[in-house]
């Protein structure tokens, strides 16, 4: 399973990437594999304040809808309108074109508690057994 080493992760299968003062957020390869046929995505409005662990986006597969949680607290600075129009991008390129939104963190210390690639890899390995 693809777990890029430079990213940070959550137990709920989001990834976070530092880009300047922002964290860009998406879902992991493991999550898109489980979700499978993604047909609808709702991204948060720019300017919205989110708390760590709060549902910030929604991904719907053919079978069900899933909440995507904010990995850290802060303000939504960007959201990916292209992925809202073409949700398959998450299935095809979850770490690239399939990014969902970006946050300007308000509690920088929260980011230090995110999982490393190694820790996340262990987590999904354990879940598989």
């Amino acid at each position: 399973m693809d777990v890029p080493p430079a990213l940070f992760y959550t137990k709920t299968h989001e990834w976070a990437k530092r880009e300047g003062a922002e964290l860009v957020i998406g879902v992991t390869a493991h999550a898109q594999e489980e979700l499978r046929d993604i047909v609808f995505i709702e991204v948060p409005a720019v300017g919205r304040q989110v708390k760590q662990g709060e549902p910030a986006a929604v991904i719907e597969s053919v079978k069900a809808a899933f909440d995507i949680y904010a990995p850290v607290s802060g303000t939504i600075t960007r959201s990916n309108q292209a992925v809202a129009k073409a949700p398959q991008a998450v299935n095809q390129d979850c770490y690239g074109q399939g990014w969902l939104f970006a946050i300007a963190p308000s509690q920088p210390e929260e980011a230090s508690k995110l999982l490393s690639a190694e820790e996340y890899h262990k987590l999904i390995e354990q879940a598989a057994h």
Partner: protein, 386 residues
């Protein structure tokens, strides 16, 4: 791993070997999908899909009074069903509520094969046995037998080659014995996808063989195994109701929009008086089909609203995304005053309003070119011409 106590079909090892994602469907460990619901859906529309639907029950009703027995238990006129022909119908309770929807195949003057849903299998058999007339035998023959559905535009070609039988000449809703295979094997031109296709009723050992050969012989033309996930999305696209979801004992055939199955003036059948009464009084609600050109997927149980009405006017029973039409589709019961084709419903999903339009079902028909296929969205076209 298989959850303890789940029933397995004769093809269970095939599903596991193919890497299917399995699901508990009314106590059966069944394939939900093998690779992707949407890909399997497209395979059925474009080429050929193979389904294991052996969880459904097979019941033989035989004897001099078999026809009369069935005719008093179902809404359709069974006397009008010719030998080796089939009929889609339903059994009602005294209140006109739907106990199950059935396909009944007439195998002979005094012999019928009744296909029942797996969730109502036991109650249907008990109902048939308790109400059978004197010279009638009801036999549950499901054990040791399978049902395969071979569906899609290439189904006739592949099966004709494979079975060495003249299946292409079989009429819609006709059934033929396959005596060269087995004394009790049959093939019918029926299915649950809305397109062309066949269902095979077979002893288990033959089902395994046919399963393997359809997949190997059909591979070059795009045949693939299809799970219950795509079975659901295909049947919704075709406007076909699902028992337990779009209809149950709280709904009548009138409300479910299945009037065409009812022979109201045939001699007495269970539920007839209730249906007459409801027809006189008028209906308070109808099952409608609706579509959303953009927005989320309607899910079972979601309330449906209309403008300027604080209270819901209905509820979603089924919903999906159609990869063929590129729209979200749904079915639901809506108050009669708001159930007109062309009128607008509002779906409230996570506090956002989404507009749905009531349309005539089926949403999709075989052979009808759909605008989204003929005219791809402009974005797609520019990629192709680039």
């Amino acid at each position: 791993m298989t959850a303890v106590g789940l029933k397995k079909t004769a093809l269970h090892d095939r599903h596991r070997a193919l890497g299917a994602k399995m699901t508990d469907f009314h106590g059966w460990d069944m394939p939900l999908y093998y690779t992707s619901i949407l890909e399997e859906h497209r395979a059925v529309r474009d080429a050929l899909g193979l389904f294991d639907v052996s969880h459904m029950g097979q019941v033989l009703v035989t004897g001099p009074d078999a026809e009369a027995t069935l005719n008093q238990l179902v809404v359709s006129d069974i006397t009008q069903v010719g030998i080796l022909r089939a009929c889609y119908t339903m059994m009602l309770n005294d209140q006109g509520g739907i106990l199950d929807d059935l396909i009944i195949y007439r195998l002979g003057a005094e012999e019928f094969l009744v296909i029942v849903n797996c969730g109502t299998h036991d109650s249907d058999v008990a109902w048939l046995k308790a109400r059978r007339l004197s010279r009638t035998t009801v036999t549950d023959v499901s054990e040791g037998r399978s049902i395969l559905a071979v569906q899609g535009p290439l189904a006739a070609r592949v099966l004709e080659h494979l079975l060495d039988a003249k299946v292409a000449g079989l009429g819609r809703f006709a059934i033929a014995p396959m005596r060269t295979m087995s004394a009790d094997a049959g093939i019918a031109r029926t299915g649950y996808t809305g397109g062309d296709g066949f269902e095979l009723f077979l002893p288990d050992q033959h089902a395994r063989r046919v399963w393997d050969s359809v997949l190997s012989q059909g591979a070059s033309v795009g045949a693939r195994p299809v799970g219950l996930g795509a079975r659901d999305t295909l049947r919704i696209e075709a406007g076909l109701r699902l028992y337990g979801t779009d209809m149950d004992t709280s709904t009548t055939p009138w409300e479910a929009g299945l009037d065409w199955t009812v022979a109201l003036n045939k001699p007495g059948f269970i539920g007839q008086e209730a249906l007459r009464r409801q027809k006189q009084q008028g209906l308070s609600r109808h099952l409608v089909g609706f579509e959303l050109t953009q927005g989320p997927v309607p899910r079972t149980g979601m309330p449906l609203y209309v403008a300027d009405h604080p209270e819901p006017v209905g509820q979603v029973t089924s919903g999906t995304y159609s990869p063929i039409l590129a729209k979200s589709l749904g079915m639901g019961y809506v108050q009669a005053a708001h159930a007109r084709v062309g009128s607008t419903l509002t779906l409230l999903v996570r506090n956002l309003k989404h507009t749905a339009t009531i349309v005539k079902m089926p949403f999709w028909r075989p052979g009808v070119a759909h605008p989204t296929l003929a005219n791809p969205p402009s974005g797609q076209r520019s990629i192709e011409s680039a």
